[in-house]
Structures are given as structure tokens and as C-alpha cells.
């Protein structure tokens, strides 16, 4: 033992050097504020105050901040995921229990939470990369605003988790999540759709529930763990009353399951998947579908690594990477939208139905710019009819196809549209209503709640009449032309509006 003195010294010094080196580095290096990979903001260094210290907030935020901004963080993360792959042997099917916490929120400090959703909205305008946001606003670049703009409303968090789970299967280069639907929820969904039909005489109400890909591809052994979605769809359809119609999406998707209808690394379907649903809808509505070949096909440049890759980082998912293709549905003459979940007194004109600048992990939001609260599409279809699509994010890829059959297509996101849907239907004289939900959403209590509360509007307000000139906001500078970032004052007035509506 006596002769090992130098070994002890080297050991002690090596350890000390590492902890001191990283310790100093962590204090000296500039701290990043956002993570591109995770599409969220990193925790900011908390300001010390006795109030936050005694509330045990300061130290907790400091720990979070420190871990979030640790030197070489992304390399360490990659190392940890690489190490995970040595834990065992890989079979044909791989199973992940994601360690990602259930409640995902972009990390924003409590003080900025109230304004985060609306302030980021202004930054998520098409092609905007407004870098000069005031410091109180969390969104400061395109990537972070992308994440913030899809911030789920606070009310959504809890009961989705009962059905959405973090168990992910990887099979033949694609990731699958299992859907565990329950019959009572299917009936509730059918009742809500039926109530739309009953309360909207003269309007055709359609429901479409988009099944999950595990139904079509995962080996039976694992598939059996979940709910058979054909049965699930048949069940809710059999409970529809008052003339509401169920679109047979499952069957059409199954027919086309050899095509590229779902992303392998993401939870969404592709434009081709949505096209299958469109074919099914045309059958229900009695339309002659436009063939896909007649539309111009475009592809988002670069690979698309979706959410399921982001959380599993499974190498099988990048061997055959996803891409996002979209089809230019002809006849679109004008696209207008608003971005603020608090609502807006005027619509902005958009250059197209597709956000063609979206790349990488954000590529799915190429379709109708992602989850905007409201979009109005005018077309040259000349049918004299108009449709309202009440959708979740699955509906984004589906919505463009409707342009071939309606003069006006209204698209609203059930989570974010603040105004009364019944008011909108009456005001715009809408003929058809399509309620499009992924099976997860259809089965989820919070989405069902949304569909109910939408009737009178999440904010309880009637939609403004956009055909009238917009009322001047108090300190109103002239609104900038369409694709420009919205000017600050408007965003802040909208923020007030949204917070006041949230208080109601």
C-alpha cells in the first residue's frame, strides 16, 4: 500500500481536474438559450430573490438551468443514448419506454408563461425569423417559436396521458405507438358529433377518425395489445345519430397500406395517407375525387426526422429516413388566416396553402403552416358550397384536398380556435362540417371537451366579421403587409385579450 502514493496522487488529481474543468467551463461558457434538437427553450438562469429562494423556486430553477446548459450538453446526450444501445440485444422488434416526462412544455419561466403563447404567435408568421423580440418574450427564433406555437393549451395536459403512452415499438425501420381506446370514449365521441348534426339542421356533419399505423404494420402479437381500430371506428359510427356520417377512413388506408401513408419516425400520416382519407370522404359525400397524379408533387428538401425519432434516437429510424411530400391541389385562389389563439380582428393573406420554408423536424408543418387557429381558403372550384374542417394536427395534411370541391374551405384547429363555431357556421353559411380527429384525439377527454366547448367558442365570443374593415386597435400603427412579422403592439394587445379570455 505504501508504494502506491503516486497512483493515489494521479487518481486524485485526475478526478479534481475533471470536476474543476467542467465546473469552470460551465460558469465561463456562454449559456445557450434554446435546443434545436428538442425544439424547446432551455431553462434560463433564474434571478435570485429572497422570495423565490424561500419558495424553494430559485434553487430548483438553478438546478434545471445548470443541467440544461451544461457544457457539451448535446454530445453528452448523444453519448447516453449511444450507451443505451449496449444494454442488450436487438431483436426484430424493439421496445422503448421513453424516459421523457409526460408533461411536455417548452420550459418558460412562470412569469412569461401567461404571454408565451400569444407572443410566440407573432413570431410564427410565415417566413419570419424575427430576431429582435423584446427580452420578456420567450420566443426569439424560428425554431423556438415553432415549438411554442404548437404549445398545447393548459387544459389538455392530464387525461391524454391515460391513452397516450410512452411505449414505442420499432419494427422494420419504423416506430409505432399502440392505441388503447375504450368503448365508452368512442360512444362519447359519437354523441358529440351527433349533437353537432342535431343542432345544425341543414348542415351535413361528417366524422373521420384516423387510425394509428400499428394496426397495419406491427406483428399481431404486439398489435393485439391495443384496440383494433377497425372495430373502434365501426363502434363509434354505429352510434352516430341525427344524420351524422362516419367516413370509412380505416378501410381506405388499409387498402393503400403498401404505399407510404404514414411516416416511419413521426406520429403523423403523410399526404398520401391523407389522400386515402380524402378518397373515403369523397365516397361518403358523393364527390368524384381528383386523382393524385393530376396534382403537382413537391418534396421538402432534406430528411425528416419526426418526433418518435427525437425521443428514441433509434438508429433504425434513420437508415431509411422519412421525407415530406405534398401535392399542390389546383384551384386555390386566396388563403387567409390568423395566428393568435386569442383571436384576431382581421385575417392575414398567406402566399400559399403550404409553408414551403419548413425544414427538418418542422417539415410536417409545411401543410397549412401547422396548427394555426383558423384558416380560410378560397378556390375556383365553382361548386357554390363551403366546408368547415374542425381538425387536430392530422387534419393538416388532409385539408388541402378539400379545395377541389368547395368554393370556400374553413379550417380551424379545435384546440386553438377561440370563437364560437356555431357562430362561424351561421355567419359564413357553411354547408358541410367535417370533424377530423386522430384516434388518440377522438378518444381523449380533453379533445372531446374542446369539441363541446367550441360550439360556443373557447372564449365564448362570436367570430368577428372579417368582411367589415377591422376596428382600429388603440395604439394602432398600420398593419404590415401579409407575410411580414406582425408588429409588436398588435401582439401585445392580443396577449391581453388572450389572457383575459383565459381568465373567464
Amino acid at each position: 500500500m505504501k508504494n502506491h502514493k503516486w497512483i493515489y496522487a494521479v487518481n486524485a488529481v485526475a478526478f479534481l481536474i475533471i470536476i474543476i474543468y467542467f465546473g469552470v467551463l460551465s460558469l465561463m461558457l456562454p449559456t445557450p438559450t434554446e435546443s434545436e434538437v428538442e425544439r424547446r427553450e432551455l431553462a434560463a438562469k433564474p434571478d435570485f430573490s429572497f422570495a423565490s429562494y424561500f419558495a424553494k423556486e430559485y434553487t430548483r430553477s438553478f438546478d434545471t438551468f445548470y443541467a440544461d446548459t451544461f457544457p457539451a450538453r448535446e454530445s453528452f446526450i448523444q453519448l447516453s443514448y449511444a450507451l443505451d444501445s449496449f444494454k442488450g440485444v436487438e431483436g426484430e422488434v424493439k421496445f422503448y419506454q421513453s424516459n421523457i416526462q409526460e408533461e411536455q412544455k417548452p420550459l418558460v419561466t412562470s412569469s412569461s408563461l401567461s404571454s408565451s403563447s400569444s407572443s410566440s404567435e407573432s413570431a410564427s408568421l410565415p417566413a419570419s425569423s424575427s430576431s429582435s423580440e423584446s427580452s420578456s418574450q420567450p420566443a426569439s427564433s424560428e425554431t423556438s417559436s415553432e415549438s411554442a406555437s404548437t404549445l398545447p393549451p393548459q387544459t389538455n395536459a392530464v387525461d391524454d396521458n391515460a391513452y397516450l403512452n410512452n411505449n414505442i415499438f420499432i419494427y422494420k425501420g419504423a416506430a409505432y405507438q399502440i392505441f388503447y381506446g375504450d368503448n365508452a370514449a368512442a360512444e362519447r365521441f359519437a354523441n358529440i358529433v351527433s349533437s353537432y348534426a342535431a343542432e345544425l339542421p341543414g348542415v351535413n356533419v361528417y366524422a373521420q377518425v384516423v387510425p394509428q399505423p400499428f394496426n397495419f404494420y406491427l406483428p399481431e402479437k404486439y398489435r393485439k395489445m391495443g384496440r383494433n381500430e377497425q372495430d373502434y371506428a365501426a363502434l363509434y359510427q354505429s352510434k352516430l345519430t341525427s344524420g351524422a356520417k362516419g367516413v370509412k377512413v380505416y378501410e381506405k388506408l388499409e387498402e393503400n397500406k403498401d404505399e407510404y401513408i404514414y411516416f416511419r419516425s413521426d406520429t403523423h400520416w403523410t399526404a398520401r395517407g391523407a389522400y386515402s382519407a380524402y378518397l373515403a370522404f369523397c365516397e361518403s359525400a358523393g364527390f368524384a375525387p381528383v386523382s393524385l397524379d393530376s396534382m403537382e408533387r413537391r418534396v421538402v428538401p432534406g430528411d425528416f426526422y419526426g418526433y418518435l425519432y427525437t425521443i428514441t434516437m433509434d438508429n433504425n429510424l434513420i437508415k431509411n429516413p422519412d421525407y415530406v411530400e405534398y401535392f399542390i391541389v389546383p384551384g386555390v385562389t386566396k388563403v387567409e388566416a390568423f395566428f393568435d389563439r386569442g383571436g384576431a380582428s382581421k385575417l392575414q393573406t398567406m402566399p400559399s396553402l403550404w409553408a414551403e420554408d419548413r425544414r427538418g423536424g418542422a417539415a410536417y408543418s409545411t401543410f397549412i403552416y401547422g396548427d394555426l387557429p383558423y384558416m380560410k381558403v378560397s378556390t375556383s372550384a365553382g361548386t357554390g358550397r363551403s366546408v368547415l374542417l374542425i381538425k387536430d394536427s392530422y387534419g393538416n395534411a388532409f385539408a388541402p384536398f378539400l379545395a377541389s370541391h368547395y368554393d370556400t374551405v374553413h379550417i380551424l384547429d379545435e384546440r386553438y380556435y377561440p370563437y364560437s363555431v356555431y357562430g362561424l357556421i351561421e355567419q359564413q353559411g357553411i354547408d358541410d362540417v367535417i370533424i377530423s380527429q386522430s384516434s388518440y384525439s377522438a378518444n381523449s377527454g380533453s379533445h372531446q371537451q374542446n369539441l363541446v366547448s367550441l360550439k360556443k367558442g373557447h372564449s365564448g365570443k362570436q367570430p368577428p366579421d372579417y368582411s367589415l374593415p377591422p376596428p382600429e386597435p388603440a395604439p394602432a400603427p398600420t398593419p404590415a403587409p401579409a407575410p411580414e412579422p406582425e408588429p409588436e403592439p398588435e401582439a401585445s394587445s392580443a396577449a391581453e385579450e388572450s389572457s383575459s379570455s383565459a381568465a373567464e
Binding site: 494521479v10 467542467f22 425544439r39 424547446r40 445548470y66 447516453s80 450507451l83 411536455q104 420550459l107 404486439y222
Partner: protein
């Protein structure tokens, strides 16, 4: 602050080591340790750091009084009683008032508001330390500490403050004033700390993820196999978490010249429940032995019970009956100590029952069994114990136990996938539940004494490797992609 946190490893620890080793004499070094220990505690407990200081002060004063009036027939008894009542009273208010009120409400049907008091970090541990100090002074086992700050150092020392081991004052009294630090100690402390860190971050956390999947799942989704698997990984998670923490505490102590007793001694290799409890959380077991079991056994009441039993039922009953009574009390208290929920009491009594049964006859029976079966007996008893420990609610436990023993349940094809994709990890984890490293070391040195230097040398790259891996996992935990897809 936790040892297995980046803030601790890369900010607190280096600052601590630098300040400590820059300080020249013991007084300054003790000052550094006290200040940083209080900072450490105040990091997590802004208010309760005062409670800790008060608690220490009370025992400091009481002990001085006991020491001063040692020959007085009443004062020492009174002071020790005050100390016990106040210490346990504080613990009771913070830890058990919610349980007491809600249980009272449940029994009487009344609806008193249930107080919601946050449990101060480490209060169960340091209360037992301050208590043991005063009782030791009362028993005249060690001279009372004249310097409040030195006693505060003993109580607040950040190594053991939060999660043990429950250090006795008598064990470190000498080291407070006279301790040696040298390279060998520092180096071995570092080795121990890094091993503890790896046990916690690499093994326990990974087991924890698996355990959450299978223990946290709705029982309807579990098969018998996956329920056992869940229990198995939960047991390992708990062991590696706790023993890793003790390793880190012991390692930290050594870095600063303190020697704490071992707290775990490979409990899962035991062949009986009594042996298991001599190897599991040793400092707690010996605390209950010295401050509850022995005093109970030596008390007038139980002696009388013993005498009476002896004259009525014979000699064996004369010893067994008081022992059974005392053990029941001890295991009730042990269960209670672990948490303010009745399942912990059930858990404590469950182990007490096995210890009593072993004492009465089971031991004799087990001795006739092959070793493998005795291990199997212990493992099953311990794992089911962990099931009781896990479910705070009996309505969660019973269905789970049902699935465990083949009632109900559901085919779960994921279990084989999970085992397959974690098989190497699981094998290594199980291996480290046994003293495989000490065996290996002994075997190497037995072959060639020169091996020792080599083993010491191997610690250097091993420490660096483990530290990097642990850092990767700790940073990896913060990887939290925004779930934009929530439809």
C-alpha cells in the same frame, strides 16, 4: 442538492475540496465544512436549516446539563426525556401529522383538515443522530461536546445529512478534532464516491425506468411475468439507489478525513431475513437495536413479563415472549420510520414477523434446506416486501399481488423484448448485487501480490470513464424534446 446532481458534482464539490484543502488547520477546515454543509442544506431547505440548528442546540445544551449533573438522581433522566420528546415531537409534527389526522378522520368519520406539511429533507436521519447523541451522553458512553459548532458539524455534515448512514457521534467524536487527510484517503474516497455515483446514476436510474414501466402500469396490462420483472427491477433500483448513496457518503467522508461505518453489506446474498437485516441499512438496524430493542428488553416491564412467562410456560417462553413483544415494537417503529403511510408499518411488521418466525422455528427448518432454496426464500420474501413498500395504497397492492401469483393478469408480449434489450445490463446489475468485486480482488491478489498496484492503477481510468458516463446520463435526463405532436 443531491450528490447525483450536476450542481453538486461540478460546482459544490470542487469548491468544497478546494476551500477545504487550502485551509491549513483543523479549525478552519471544520469551519469550511460547517459553512458548506449549512449551505448544502439551505439549498434545499431555506427554513428548516434553522430547525436543524435548533435541534442540535437543544441536544447540545441537554447533554451539557446531563454531563454536569450526572450524579443527580433526576436531572439526567429529565433532560434525556426532554430531548426524546422534543426530537420525536418535531419529527412527528413534520412527518406524521398528516397521517395521524387522516387516520383519525377515517376511524371516527370526522373531517378535520389534514395538515399538509412538507417533510424537511433528511429530518428522519438527523433526528436519529441528535437523539443518539443525547442518549449516548446519558449512558456515559462518550464525553459531551463542549463546542456547539463541533456538534453542529456532526449533525449537519452534508455527507450523511440527507440520506445517512446514521452516524453515531461516538464514532467520529475523535475525528472532529483529530483527523488525517492524505492522498491515499482522498484517492480511496474518490474511488468510493465514483462507484456510488455509478451505482445510482447508471444502475439505479435505469432500473427505475424499467420499474416505472412495469410497476406503474395499470395492473390490467401486466402479466405474472411482467409483474415479477417489475418487482425485481424495483428491488434492484432501491438497493442500488440507497447503497450507492451510502457509498457516496462514505466516499465523501473519506475525502475529508471522516470514517463512517458501512451501511450495506450485499444484503441480497443473505439466506435469512435476520441476516438480510444485518446487511441492509446497517446503521438504522443498529440504531433501533441500541436505542429501542435493548432498552425495551432491559426494561422492568418486559423483565416481569419474562419472569412470569418463565414460571408458567418454562424457560424458553421466558425469553421468547418478551423478545416477540420487543421485536413487534421495533419493527412497527422501523416501518413507521420509513414513511408516513400505513403500508410502511405493514412492511415493517411483515419483516418483523419473518424475524420472529425465524427465531422461533423457521431458522431450524431453513438450515435443513439446500443453500439455493434458502436464498430463494429470502429473495422472494424481500421482493414481496418491496411490493408492500411500493404501493402506498392497499387497493394498488392487492391486485398487484394477485397478478404476481397468477390471478388475473394479461398477456404482455413486451416483457421478453424488454428483457432482451436490457439483458447485458440486467446481468451486470445482478452481478453487482453480489460481492463479485471483492472476490475478484482477493483472487487476483492471491495469485500475485503485485496485482494490488495494478488494481489501484485501474481505478484511475475507471473513475474517469464512470464519471463521464454518469455525466452523460445526468445530462441525458434533461433531454426533454417538446412533444409537439400532441394532436
Amino acid at each position: 442538492m443531491v450528490f447525483s446532481g450536476l450542481t453538486f458534482i461540478y460546482l459544490f464539490l470542487p469548491v468544497n475540496l478546494i476551500l477545504y484543502y487550502l485551509s491549513k488547520n483543523q479549525t478552519w477546515r471544520n469551519t469550511v465544512l460547517i459553512c458548506l454543509s449549512l449551505f448544502f442544506y439551505a439549498w434545499g431547505e431555506p427554513f428548516c436549516v434553522l430547525l436543524l440548528m435548533f435541534s442540535t442546540f437543544l441536544d447540545y445544551v441537554n447533554s451539557l446539563i446531563i454531563d454536569r449533573y450526572r450524579s443527580h438522581p433526576l436531572i439526567p433522566k429529565l433532560m434525556v426525556a426532554v430531548s426524546v420528546i422534543v426530537n420525536l415531537g418535531i419529527l412527528g409534527i413534520f412527518k406524521y401529522s398528516g397521517l395521524i389526522v387522516s387516520s383519525f378522520n377515517a376511524v371516527t368519520g370526522l373531517a378535520f383538515p389534514v395538515p399538509e406539511i412538507a417533510l424537511p429533507i433528511g429530518i428522519s436521519f438527523y433526528t436519529f443522530q441528535t437523539l443518539s447523541y443525547t442518549i449516548d451522553i446519558y449512558r456515559d458512553e462518550v464525553p459531551a461536546q463542549r463546542n456547539y459548532f463541533k456538534l453542529l458539524l456532526y449533525v449537519s455534515m452534508f455527507h450523511q445529512l440527507v440520506a445517512g448512514p446514521i452516524v453515531r457521534y461516538s464514532h467520529i467524536a475523535n475525528e472532529i478534532d483529530h483527523r488525517q487527510t492524505n492522498m491515499a484517503e482522498l484517492s480511496s474516497g474518490i474511488n468510493r464516491f465514483v462507484i456510488g455515483l455509478a451505482k445510482k446514476v447508471i444502475i439505479a436510474n435505469t432500473c427505475g425506468q424499467l420499474a416505472t414501466t412495469y410497476m406503474g402500469a395499470p395492473v390490467g396490462n401486466l402479466s405474472t411475468a411482467s409483474a415479477w420483472f417489475g418487482l425485481f427491477v424495483y428491488s434492484m433500483q432501491y438497493y442500488f439507489d440507497f447503497s450507492g448513496y451510502s457509498d457516496m457518503a462514505i466516499g465523501l467522508g473519506r475525502m475529508f478525513g471522516f470514517h463512517y461505518f458501512e451501511n450495506f453489506n450485499y444484503p441480497f446474498i443473505s439466506r435469512s431475513v435476520s441476516e438480510y437485516w444485518r446487511r441492509w441499512h446497517i446503521s438504522l438496524g443498529s440504531w433501533f437495536k441500541d436505542y429501542l430493542f435493548y432498552p425495551l428488553m432491559m426494561s422492568q416491564g418486559l423483565r416481569k413479563v419474562g419472569k412470569a412467562a418463565k414460571t408458567r410456560f418454562g424457560k424458553r417462553a421466558g425469553t421468547m415472549i418478551p423478545t416477540v413483544i420487543a421485536l413487534s415494537v421495533v419493527w412497527f417503529a422501523t416501518g413507521m420510520w420509513h414513511g408516513a403511510s400505513w403500508n410502511y408499518v405493514v412492511w415493517g411488521l411483515y419483516f418483523g414477523l419473518f424475524i420472529i418466525l425465524e427465531m422461533l422455528f423457521l431458522d431450524k427448518l431453513l438450515e435443513r434446506l439446500p443453500r439455493l432454496l434458502r436464498h430463494a426464500y429470502l429473495i422472494v420474501v424481500v421482493m414481496i416486501g418491496f411490493g408492500i413498500f411500493y404501493f402506498e395504497d392497499i387497493s394498488g397492492l392487492l391486485p398487484f399481488l394477485g397478478v404476481l401469483f397468477g390471478m388475473g393478469g394479461h398477456a404482455d408480449p413486451t416483457i421478453m423484448l424488454t428483457i432482451g434489450s436490457n439483458i447485458f445490463f440486467l446481468i451486470i446489475a445482478v452481478l453487482f448485487c453480489t460481492p463479485v468485486m471483492p472476490w475478484l480482488r482477493k483472487w487476483c491478489i492471491g495469485k500475485d501480490a503485485g496485482c494490488e498496484a495494478f488494481i489501484e492503477m485501474m481505478h484511475i481510468p475507471l473513475n474517469i470513464l464512470l464519471l463521464v458516463i454518469c455525466t452523460a446520463y445526468l445530462v441525458g435526463q434533461t433531454y426533454n424534446p417538446f412533444m409537439y405532436f400532441r394532436f
